[in-house]
C-alpha cells in the first residue's frame, strides 16, 4: 500500500472512530429518526393515503387480532381503519384518486381473500383464491385504480404475481417461474412493478413492466433484500435489507444503482414506504423492544 493510500485509510479510520465515540453512525447523512407512535405494538405494511396523507398500517391490536389503523401525522391521532373488522386485515394499498383501495382479509383457517373497496359506489369485491389453506400473500393497486397485482402460490411450490381488474375478474398470470415472487408495488405511473423474488437464489429485488415483461434484477446480495416501494416521483426505491446482519432500510435508484443504507439501528427496521413529500421514509423500527413507526429524512441522500 502506498503512503498516500495509507494516510487516507488512517484518516477514514480516525473519522469513523470519532463518529463512534460521539455516538453518531457513519450513516449520519440521513437525519435522526423521529418516532411517530409510542404503543410499541407489532406493526407492518405501511402505506399512505393520497388525499388526507394519513398513514395506514396493520397492527397486532390484541393477541388474536391484526387490525388496519390510520395515523394522522398532523394530530397524532390513531383510529381503526375498518372500525367493525373482527378478523385479521393486512396489506392495504390505495389508488391515487382514492376511489378504490385493496387489502387482504383473513376470513378462515389459514385462508385469506383479496378485497377491493369501491369507495364511490360502496361496493366491496372479494376474490376467494380457493378452498383449503389458500392465501393471497401481498398486493398492490395501480395508481389509476383499475388493476390489482397480488402474489399467490402455485402447486409446484413457487409463488407468482397475478393481475386482476378492480372487480376482481379476468385474472392474468404476470410471472411464470419456479421461484417465489412476492411484495409487488406499482410505480407512480403504473407502468412498472417492483417486487421481491428468489430468482437469484435468495430474496432480491426486481422490476418489470406492468404487463410482466422485461424482468430486471435490481439487487444482488446473499442477505434478504425485500419489500421494495417506489418514491412518489418514481426515481427511487426504498427496501429492507438484511445484508448487514440486521434488518435495515436502504434506498436505491429505480435502476438498482446507488444503493445507500438509511437506518442503522440494533433492532429490526422494516416495512418502509415513502412519505408523499418524497423527502422522508416512514418505517417500523424496533427500539428497546418496542415496534413503533418512525420517520427519517433522506433529503441529503437524494442526488
Amino acid at each position: 500500500m502506498n503512503s498516500s493510500k495509507q494516510t487516507r485509510v488512517n484518516g477514514l479510520s480516525i473519522r469513523l472512530a470519532i463518529l463512534l465515540i460521539i455516538g453518531l453512525s457513519p450513516f449520519a447523512d440521513a437525519a435522526e429518526p423521529m418516532r411517530l407512535t409510542s404503543d410499541g405494538k407489532m406493526k407492518q405494511d405501511l402505506c399512505f393515503t393520497h388525499d388526507t396523507q394519513e398513514l395506514i398500517y396493520s397492527v397486532l391490536k390484541t393477541p388474536q387480532l391484526i387490525k388496519l389503523q390510520r395515523l394522522n401525522l398532523d394530530s397524532g391521532t390513531v383510529e381503526d381503519f375498518h372500525t367493525s373488522a373482527n378478523t385479521n386485515e393486512i396489506y392495504i394499498d390505495f389508488a391515487k384518486d382514492m376511489k378504490h383501495y385493496a387489502y387482504i382479509r383473513n376470513d378462515g383457517n389459514l385462508h385469506t381473500v383479496l378485497q377491493v373497496q369501491d369507495v364511490e359506489n360502496g361496493e366491496l369485491h372479494s376474490l376467494n383464491p380457493g378452498g383449503g389453506f389458500a392465501c393471497v400473500r401481498a398486493l398492490t393497486i395501480s395508481p389509476d385504480g383499475q388493476n390489482v397485482v397480488y402474489s399467490f402460490p402455485e402447486t409446484n411450490g413457487s409463488q407468482q404475481l397475478w393481475q386482476t381488474d378492480n372487480k376482481l375478474q379476468n385474472k392474468t398470470e404476470l410471472t411464470k417461474s419456479d421461484f417465489i415472487d412476492a411484495y409487488p408495488r406499482f410505480s407512480p405511473t403504473g407502468n412498472v412493478l417492483t417486487f421481491t423474488s428468489t430468482r437469484s437464489g435468495n430474496f432480491d429485488i426486481f422490476r418489470m413492466s406492468a404487463d410482466g415483461t422485461g424482468i430486471f434484477q435490481l439487487t444482488d446480495h446473499p442477505g434478504i433484500d425485500t419489500r421494495p416501494s417506489f418514491s412518489p416521483d418514481g426515481s427511487k426505491i426504498v427496501y429492507t435489507s438484511l445484508r448487514q446482519g440486521n434488518y435495515e432500510i436502504f434506498i436505491m435508484n429505480a435502476d438498482g444503482s446507488n444503493q445507500k443504507q438509511v437506518t442503522s439501528n440494533s433492532g429490526k427496521d422494516d416495512f418502509a414506504c415513502w412519505h408523499p413529500d418524497g423527502k422522508r421514509i416512514v418505517y417500523v423500527g424496533e427500539v428497546k423492544g418496542k415496534r413503533d413507526i418512525y420517520s427519517i429524512s433522506v433529503q441529503d441522500m437524494l442526488d
Binding site: E154, G157, I224
Partner: protein
C-alpha cells in the same frame, strides 16, 4: 402399581432395565417413596428447575437452526445462512442473535417424533406417549415433577405461562397436564401479555371474585382485599385445586412478588422485547429464582399461524416465508437470547435445565402453497444449563434435512433426560409408573 419388568429406560447413571430390576427387587417397596429418598435424589439432581420452552405449531428446522444451503432451492428455501460462533456451524440469517450465542447452548438436530398431527405430537412432546380414543392419558413432564417434588411455599410446582392450554382450532392436546392422575397435577396457568401484565384464569372460577388484571401493585392490593372479604372457609373448601392454589399464591407476599415484572429494570424488560413470549420468558426467570420446579413457556395457545381468533403459532402451512422473517423469528431471536443472557448473568444456569423445542419440524420440500407442512421425521431442540455441555451440535440430519443420519432423539429421551436432571431417575419413575421407555441423552453432558 410398579411394573419393574416393563421398564426399559436408562437413567443418566446408565442404569439399564436389567440393573434397575435388580436394584428395585433389592429395595423394599415401602422404602421407595420416603421423603428421605426424595430428598437424597434431589441432592443428586442436576437441576432444581426445568424451563420447558414450547414453540407450539412447530417451527421449520431448515429455516432456523438446521439450514441446508447446498440443497435445491425448493428444499433450502429463500433464506441465506450465517456463521455461528461454532466453526462450520451455520444458522439461517433469521436468528442472528442466537447464532452469536451458540456457546450458551447445545443444539440437537436429530429429534424425531411419532405423530404428524399437532395434538398427537403435542402429547408426545409433553408426555412421551401417544394420545387417542381409549388410550390412557399419561401425565406430562411438569405433572410428574409436580407430583415428585410437591408444592413449595406459595407457588404451584408446575406453572404454564401461556394464553391457554396448547391447542389447535379443533381441540386441546390431551397430554398437557395430569392426565389420568387427575386435575390436581395440571399446570397452573398464568397469562402474561406483551406488557408483562399478569392474569390468572383460575381466579375467574371463584364466584364474585374477578381479579382479571394484576398489572399494578395498588390494583393488586385492592383485588386481594376484595378476595379476602369474600372468601369464607366454606367457600374455600368448595373451590377446585387450581382456585385454591391461586388463592394461596395471592395471599403469599413472597410468591406474589415473583409474578411482578415491575420489579425488573426497564432496560431488562426491554431486552426481552414487547411480546407476550418475551415477557413470559422474563416471568419464567423470576419463577426460576422462586424455585418453581417446572415452568412451561408456550409460544402460543393455538398452533395456527394465521387464522381468525388465534394467536399466531408456528404452524406455517401458508406464509412460512412471510411470517418467519416478519414476526416469528425476530421475536424468538430477541426474547430467547435475552433469556439466556439473563439466566447466565444471574448464575441461574447451574441449577436450571432449559429446553426449547416444538412438536415436530416442517417439510423440507416446499409445499404447493410456497410454505412448509408438518414433518415429524426430523426437527431440532435447544438445551442449556444444569451441566449441559454447551457450544456443541448433537446429531445431524441428511443433505435435505429429511431424516437424522445419527441416533434419533425421541420424545421419551427428552423426557427421561429432563426428569433425570430433576432427580427423578428410573427408580423414581418406576415408583410413579411413568415413562417406562426412553434413553437419557448422554451427549448433552
Amino acid at each position: 402399581m410398579l411394573r419393574l419388568g416393563e421398564f426399559k429406560s436408562r437413567s443418566c447413571d446408565g442404569i439399564s432395565r436389567r440393573a434397575f430390576v435388580q436394584a428395585g427387587a433389592a429395595l423394599p417397596l415401602t422404602a421407595m417413596l420416603t421423603g428421605e429418598q426424595i430428598a437424597q435424589a434431589a441432592t443428586q439432581a442436576r437441576a432444581k428447575t426445568v424451563v420447558f420452552v414450547w414453540l407450539w405449531g412447530a417451527p421449520s428446522h431448515l429455516d432456523t437452526f438446521d439450514p441446508k444451503p447446498d440443497a435445491p432451492l425448493n428444499y433450502r428455501g429463500p433464506f441465506g445462512t450465517i456463521p455461528t460462533t461454532l466453526p462450520g456451524v451455520r444458522f439461517t440469517e433469521l436468528v442472528p442473535q442466537l447464532a452469536a450465542r451458540t456457546d450458551k447452548f447445545a443444539l440437537i438436530r436429530s429429534n424425531v417424533t411419532h405423530d404428524g398431527g399437532h395434538p398427537g405430537a403435542g402429547t408426545f412432546g409433553y408426555t412421551g406417549h401417544r394420545e387417542g380414543r381409549g388410550i390412557t392419558i399419561q401425565p406430562s413432564w411438569g405433572s410428574i415433577v409436580s407430583r415428585h417434588h410437591g408444592a413449595g411455599a406459595g407457588l404451584p410446582p408446575y406453572v404454564m405461562l401461556s394464553r391457554g392450554i396448547p391447542r389447535d382450532v379443533v381441540k386441546t392436546i390431551d397430554g398437557y397436564g395430569g392426565g389420568d392422575w387427575g386435575k390436581a397435577y395440571d399446570p397452573f396457568l398464568i397469562q402474561c401479555d406483551e406488557l408483562g401484565s399478569i392474569n390468572i384464569p383460575a381466579l375467574k372460577l371463584v364466584d364474585g371474585v374477578t381479579p382479571d388484571r394484576i398489572a399494578h401493585r395498588r390494583n393488586l392490593q385492592d383485588q386481594l382485599d376484595k378476595i379476602k372479604r369474600n372468601v369464607t372457609a366454606d367457600t374455600f373448601d368448595a373451590w377446585d385445586s387450581k382456585s385454591k392454589q391461586a388463592f394461596t399464591l395471592l395471599t403469599n407476599k413472597q410468591a406474589l412478588e415473583s409474578l411482578d415484572l415491575t420489579k425488573e429494570s426497564t432496560e431488562l424488560r426491554e431486552n426481552y422485547g414487547q411480546s407476550s413470549f418475551g415477557q413470559s420468558l422474563l416471568l419464567a426467570r423470576r419463577l426460576v429464582e422462586a424455585e418453581v420446579p417446572f415452568v412451561n413457556v408456550s409460544w402460543s395457545e393455538f398452533v395456527e399461524a394465521f387464522s381468525p381468533n388465534t394467536d399466531f403459532g408456528w404452524d406455517t402451512h401458508v406464509k412460512n416465508f412471510d411470517l418467519l422473517p416478519n414476526r416469528h423469528c425476530p421475536v424468538l431471536d430477541t426474547a430467547f437470547s435475552a433469556f439466556l443472557d439473563d439466566m447466565y448473568d444471574r448464575g441461574l444456569m447451574d441449577s436450571t435445565l432449559v429446553v426449547c423445542m416444538g412438536e415436530f419440524g416442517r417439510t423440507p420440500r416446499i409445499n404447493n402453497r410456497a410454505a412448509r407442512d408438518h414433518w415429524q421425521h426430523n426437527y431440532f431442540s435447544i438445551w442449556a444449563g444444569a451441566g449441559v455441555k454447551t457450544g456443541q451440535v448433537i446429531g445431524a440430519s441428511d443433505a435435505k434435512a429429511e431424516r437424522p443420519v445419527t441416533r434419533k432423539i425421541e420424545p421419551t429421551g427428552v423426557g427421561v433426560t429432563m426428569l433425570d436432571c430433576m432427580g427423578i431417575d428410573s427408580i423414581a419413575r418406576a415408583e410413579l409408573n411413568v415413562l417406562p421407555e426412553g434413553e437419557f441423552i448422554h451427549e448433552l453432558f
